[in-house]
Symmetry: C2
Subunit: 279 residues, 2 copies
């Protein structure tokens, strides 16, 4: 393998995730894509074959999806499915419309990672939608990892996938997870056996890197981190309930009070009806 | 205004950017949306009327777009246009397809913020595309702020918008900016008069918060930061050329060498042809 081959190989693996892009594009156009390439360095697992299903639904927060996608998309050979009820475009809470690549029916039955983003009203609607919960419960029962970012954990909980597991969520609805039988846990990324959940919105980047290290290696994740230049320098320190100024916290707690209440009602209804959606 | 009204008001302003979402959705469906609401607190500018044009093009890195959108989308009353050549869906380098909301023709002529995301081959193609450069040069000449994240600054440079300005980019192509007459500057977010540029990919979050503070206030930006729970905890420290392990750096510099070379050739050709695209 020449230096040029090696460069091209690594480029396909990591460069602004061409590898997954190629796989998805090939899937859509029906063109074949290469699945066998030589390893440039036998100590590094450059290629894998993960099947990753990312739920998308109307009203989701698109940053919850794209943060993890930015990291997971670097994995050479992995396939990412953006899964929805149908192939009709889906509009996020902030008005970004994206096109699904698979439906609940066409998504592979056995997947490596099941993931759901969060949101607010759209998430509460998805968390009581029969087809969505049936899909999540079915794939979640066999997936190697069951994961979420932000209030996406409400959907995992509603699908009966968090019973007895530590999990996190957006700060506004983390405590509600107890209603689903989960153990609310305050951390950026929470792992309990094969359940891996991230905190609110931007935690998807930390979650995504954690997953790349889990699925590939620390070295692979570090390469992904450098290519995505994930060296955060927030201009302010208001990103957590522990650090935000008092008035910021007070106003935002009030802002989200309605959502917090609805999330708790959702979880309480789940607790009342028994031990979960599909029991 | 009751507490409930106030809560609903703030919710519209900040909650997983309903405000912009509403504006975009209203635009698309032809339904009116409210532009006049009462302020809950006269010391806080909850509402504005910024017109924000975000360029989208095939092969862009979608995280470069969604990071800033996550923050800018919190601004009550602002309108965000996802602008492309046509309304045909646009697929990112990693295979995420999004639907534009405006074209080069329908995008307002006078805008508050002009923004472009980066990428690799797709960005190099956009940076030599006549229609794209004409759009950027036209809106950029009158925009209050001319901005980019990652290698998007190559497009600004190619459109003649960085001559004599300090600017940054992804580490792999930052030095190439000199060919466009810019002054390459190594920082997470670089401001020189009304040019504000962010470093690679995930720098879009820091860039976005900086813009919210600039357009609204520090308090507004801090509220946005708390709602998006932007309290980063990268599991590794490899996000910058200053901190990444030596082998990670060496492999990624090699990985991106082809792109670095092409970016330098693009800028050199621009320098050779005179002082910019539209001279």
């Amino acid at each position: 393998m020449t230096n040029n081959d090696r460069r091209n190989f690594i480029a396909m693996a990591l460069l602004a995730p061409f590898s997954v892009g190629t796989a998805v594009a090939a899937e859509q156009t029906g063109q074949p894509h290469s699945t066998h390439m030589y390893m440039p360095d036998s100590t590094v697992h450059w290629e894998g074959n993960e099947q990753i299903a990312m739920l998308i639904y109307p009203g989701m927060t698109i940053m919850d999806l794209i943060g993890p996608h930015c990291m997971l998309g670097s994995m050479m050979g992995a396939k990412i499915y953006l899964v929805s009820k149908s192939l009709a475009p889906v509009t996020s809470d902030a008005g970004v419309t994206i096109v699904p690549t698979a439906t609940f029916e066409t998504c592979p039955r056995d997947i490596t990672v099941l993931f759901t983003p969060g949101g607010t009203d759209g998430t509460l609607a998805a968390a009581v939608d029969h087809d969505t919960l049936a899909f999540m419960a079915d794939r979640g029962a066999r997936a190697k990892y069951v994961t979420s970012v932000c209030s996406g954990s409400l959907i995992l909980g509603a699908a009966g996938l968090l019973k007895g597991y530590k999990a996190t969520s957006h700060w506004s609805c983390r405590n509600a997870l107890a209603g689903f039988g989960a153990i609310p846990t305050d951390a950026r990324v929470v792992r309990d056996r094969n359940r891996i959940t991230g905190a609110g919105v931007t935690a998807g980047l930390d979650f995504g890197l954690t997953m790349v290290a889990e699925l590939r290696s620390r070295f692979y994740a570090e390469c992904t981190q450098l290519v995505s230049e994930y060296d955060p320098h927030p201009p302010f320190s208001a990103g957590s309930m522990k650090t935000a100024p008092a008035k910021v916290k007070a106003d935002m707690v009030e802002l989200l009070a309605g959502f917090t209440k609805k999330a708790e009602e959702l979880a309480a209804a789940s607790a009342k009806s028994g031990s979960g959606w599909n029991d």
